[in-house]
């Protein structure tokens, strides 16, 4: 990543300068576009208006946090979301790891087909995953609820886990495996002591991503959730009916929570990446 755009012939200096300036200006506008809406939403939380807005400003208040805390439906939805997210972790992470190991090990004529099938949940609209899950389980008498939400979400989240684990697995030096076996380890001991610890950072990252993907999923969840409303579904229904700035309060809390998590995750990831360059 070096500055190619800066290196230019003197002949076009001024127009190049203008372009470079334009690009920088664009970047600033872009990030404003990215963050302003979130700021507006956050600000609306503190507006003492019955309707979520920042114009006009009717005075500053914290009462919407109180209203939010008193909202039993919200707490129930939050609980459901957490249960679903944990369920998705339990289902999707092992599947994702197994699939990554499978792809890394097997060479077969059927592999391109299987690979396409494995990636397909990522390229299928979420609503369709929700619908097909709902329809499939109806024949077994299972209707929408936490169970189906977990299955529906895990269907595509497993593919994300697979991608993240695969990325690390591809850098694994398989001589390690041979060395472990040669020293007398069984294949299970090799997996347990060598391969799994190596994959651990990727698995943790994948788990964090899987948790968040689950927590914020809407399109798939909408079809399979039944009456066990999750937080996202709850927010969406609040926006459409009975909208108050309490929704903003909830949004603000979620955003702050996510931002802290995202920054912590990124910092950790970069530190590891930097460490990986230095070490080994």
């Amino acid at each position: 990543m070096s500055s190619v755009a800066k290196a230019s012939g003197t002949g076009r200096m001024s127009s190049q300068r203008l372009l470079a300036f334009g690009l920088r200006f664009y970047v600033v506008v872009f990030f404003a576009y990215l963050f302003l809406p979130l700021l507006v939403m956050g600000a609306a939380t503190f507006n003492d208006s019955r309707f979520p807005t920042v114009t006009p400003w009717d005075g500053t208040t914290l009462r919407w946090f109180g209203e939010l805390a008193a909202d039993g439906g919200m707490w129930q939805a939050l609980t459901n979301s957490l249960i679903v997210a944990v369920g998705v972790l339990v289902v999707a992470v092992p599947i994702g790891i197994a699939t990554a190991l499978f792809l890394n090990t097997v060479s077969s004529r059927a592999k391109p087909f299987l690979y396409a099938l494995i990636l397909s949940p990522l390229l299928t609209p979420g609503v369709i995953i929700g619908i097909s899950t709902l329809i499939f389980w109806r024949q077994f008498g299972v209707s929408g609820g936490i169970f189906l939400t977990v299955l529906g979400q895990a269907t595509f989240i497993a593919a994300y886990v697979m991608l993240m684990v695969t990325a690390r697995l591809q850098r694994f030096d398989r001589t390690m495996e041979r060395a472990a076996l040669d020293l007398g380890a069984s294949q299970w001991q090799m997996f347990r002591r060598i391969l799994l610890p190596y994959l651990k950072p990727a698995i943790y990252s994948a788990a964090v991503i899987a948790f968040l993907q689950s927590f914020e999923n809407y399109n798939t969840t909408l079809f399979v959730v039944g009456y066990d409303t999750t937080l996202t579904v709850y927010i969406a229904s609040k926006v459409r009916t009975g909208l108050t700035p309490a929704v903003n309060a909830l949004g603000l809390i979620l955003i702050l929570f996510t931002v802290v998590l995202a920054v912590a995750y990124e910092v950790k990831r970069r530190r590891e990446a930097a460490g990986a360059v230095k070490g080994v």
Partner: protein, 396 residues
């Protein structure tokens, strides 16, 4: 503890490609044995057969007199030191060394005693709690050795373990490996393409080419009495001159050759070489066995013109061309000689070089091995056994 290794009629094929031609070999318990050959000659395949990573297509392997067919890698009494060492980067030095014991269920206390003892053996006391990523190249090397020794193997397999080190360290580690082998008495099977390593450390060396063992002998014999043209060219440096037998004499045959334009030459043929009159042969004379001679010296001699002079410090290497035949001849002159004749060592000068017939080797003309023009190194000869188009070399 019997650490002998015996290969019986072992053949290894990958599809149509024969990586190891039919091979039988016995390696004694406690021996330092090397396989020497260019890359792709099949030496690593042989090592993998002994360690159990590969199952031979035919034949049997015995370790300590017991057949090991069907014994998986993790149950064989062998331990391998890998080319890239394959230390476990997420573990400490202790954990690396103790890994083999840990998976065998040896208790923590006992494990630590073993690793402390081995760290002392490889002169790394106190490095146990370090991460392997903190170690230098040579230290990693020692940890790899200690880790392999921890499982008390009867046979230690070393797959070019020194190739990643720089020259100085490599030479130091040679001595160290040899010392460790003597101290432990374990059979070492060492794979290398570096003849210096093979010759300095080994009790015996097997020179391999094209999936076939060319000669098994102690280093001195390899150097003095190569059995094939490949060995003659691969081990040390050699000048190869074409000739025809005109006279044979004695048990270790002394032959007189008609060197065509070169006139009559002489040298010794190997024990097994049965040469007949008129047979086409090759005479091998090492550069270091040639010296400037005057007319009266009475040894076989060549008139040559100097084409290049390379001063190498301890010696001088001359590239010359024979006046009579136009063949190239490399001559290495030691410090003493080169100082004496310093004035005459100039490009374009003509000189006479001679050799002691006892130092020259005569072998049947089996076609010269392919030598890389640029580096002067012997590269793998073409595999006649490979069917047309089927030259896929497995990366095993």
């Amino acid at each position: 503890m019997d650490g002998s290794v015996r290969l019986e009629e072992v053949v290894m094929r990958f599809g149509d490609f024969t990586a190891i031609e039919r091979t039988s070999l016995e390696i004694g318990s406690g021996e330092f044995f090397s396989f020497l050959g260019p890359s792709g000659c099949g030496k690593t395949t042989l090592l993998n057969i002994v360690s159990g990573f590969l199952v031979p297509s035919e034949g049997q392997v015995f370790i300590g007199g017991e057949p090991v067919a069907g014994v998986p890698v993790n149950r064989r009494p062998t331990a391998m030191i890998f080319q890239n060492l394959a230390l476990f980067p997420l573990m400490t030095v202790f954990e690396n060394i103790e890994f083999g014991l840990e998976v065998r269920g040896v208790g923590r206390q006992q494990r630590r005693e073993v690793s402390e003892r081995l760290l002392a053996l490889v002169a790394l006391e106190g490095s146990g709690p370090k991460r392997v990523t903190e170690l230098s190249g040579g230290q990693k090397q020692r940890v790899a050795i200690a880790r392999a020794l921890a499982v008390e193997p009867r046979v230690l397999l070393l797959d070019e373990p020194l190739s990643a080190l720089d020259l100085k360290l490599r030479q130091h580690m040679r001595a160290e490996l040899k010392a460790i082998q003597r101290k432990t008495g374990i059979t070492f099977i060492y794979i290398t393409h570096d003849q210096g390593e093979a010759l300095t450390m080994s009790d015996r060396v097997a020179v391999m080419s094209a999936g076939r063992i060319q000669q098994v002998a102690d280093p001195m014999t390899l150097y003095r009495a190569p059995a094939t043209g490949f060995v003659a060219a691969f081990v040390g440096e050699n000048n190869r001159l074409e000739a025809r037998v005109i006279d044979v004499e004695g048990q270790r045959q002394r032959v007189r050759l008609d060197g065509g334009a070169l006139g009559e030459l002489s040298g010794y043929a190997g024990e097994g070489a049965r040469l007949g009159n008129g047979e086409r042969v090759a005479l091998y004379v090492r550069p270091e066995h040639l010296r400037p001679v005057n007319d009266a010296s009475g040894v076989p001699r060549f008139e040559a013109e100097i084409e290049a002079v390379h001063f190498e410090g301890a010696w001088v290497m001359l590239e010359t061309r024979l006046l009579a035949s136009g063949e190239k001849l490399r001559v290495q002159l030691g410090h003493e000689v080169s100082r004496r004749s310093a004035d005459s060592l100039a490009v374009g000068r003509r000189m006479a070089f001679g050799y002691d017939p006892a130092d020259a080797v005569v072998l049947p003309d089996d076609g010269s091995p392919v030598v890389d023009e640029a580096t002067g190194e012997v590269v793998e000869t073409d595999r006649g056994a490979t069917p047309a188009g089927g030259a896929h070399v497995p990366s095993a």
